[in-house]
Subunit: 150 residues, 2 copies
Amino acid sequence: MATQFPTREELRVWRDFVETGEAVRAAMGARLQKSGLSQGDYAVLLALSEATGRRLRSSELATAVGWERSRLSHHLGRMEKRELIRREECVTDNRGAEVVLTPAGAESFQAATRPHLRDIREVFVDALTPAQLAAAGEIMAALREHLARG
Amino acid sequence: MATQFPTREELRVWRDFVETGEAVRAAMGARLQKSGLSQGDYAVLLALSEATGRRLRSSELATAVGWERSRLSHHLGRMEKRELIRREECVTDNRGAEVVLTPAGAESFQAATRPHLRDIREVFVDALTPAQLAAAGEIMAALREHLARG
């Protein structure tokens, strides 16, 4: 079966998706930086804050933030130096290290959260109608389900 | 006026947007890597391929790929070492360097394009209904217009 290439319009939407994603992330990143955190830092701290015992296996954390393991590992190294997280090897099994939120990490996350929530409203929510917001949720779900099947 | 924080549902869509964007980019990046290019490389080569004379001011290139100048500058340094692009200082004005596509860069881009187009169809286009694809285009446009106004 011949591979069907995307149409011009499909390609346009794909490029909009990639470029708009970049632009929104850049805008949010610049705002978050005022709290001394990158978006990656915030995503990791958020996932740990919500986890039972404020700790996650690195594999669970990778899934939660949607990164590949190697990228996560590098990022965690930098966060560990800043004492935002701590890694603990598990001696009882070989399922990999656990990543633990430190008190300093919890404090940084707390301080960043109110301005970050305001930024989410200003940059993302206020840009969209309620119908567009609902459609965005459906589109993201469809993309993730397709990826999971792929 | 009090700042209104996002609702739980709005936050869920925001997080879906960020995490799905990451997951789609990671999947596309892994596929593109088979052609020896990162997604950033491909975005730069694409913008230059489409430019008149296959050259752009670095400021124009930053706008085209949606990156901040510092990130672009670091990335271009790495691409220049691999001889995919060349930077030329302009002596006639002070509007910054021009970035030029090299023959090797054009060749890498050509070789990567067919598999990349197939990946866009498989990962992105095939995941969405025509209505979802159209809605995605409108949502991205609304986000970019809002950012530009912001």
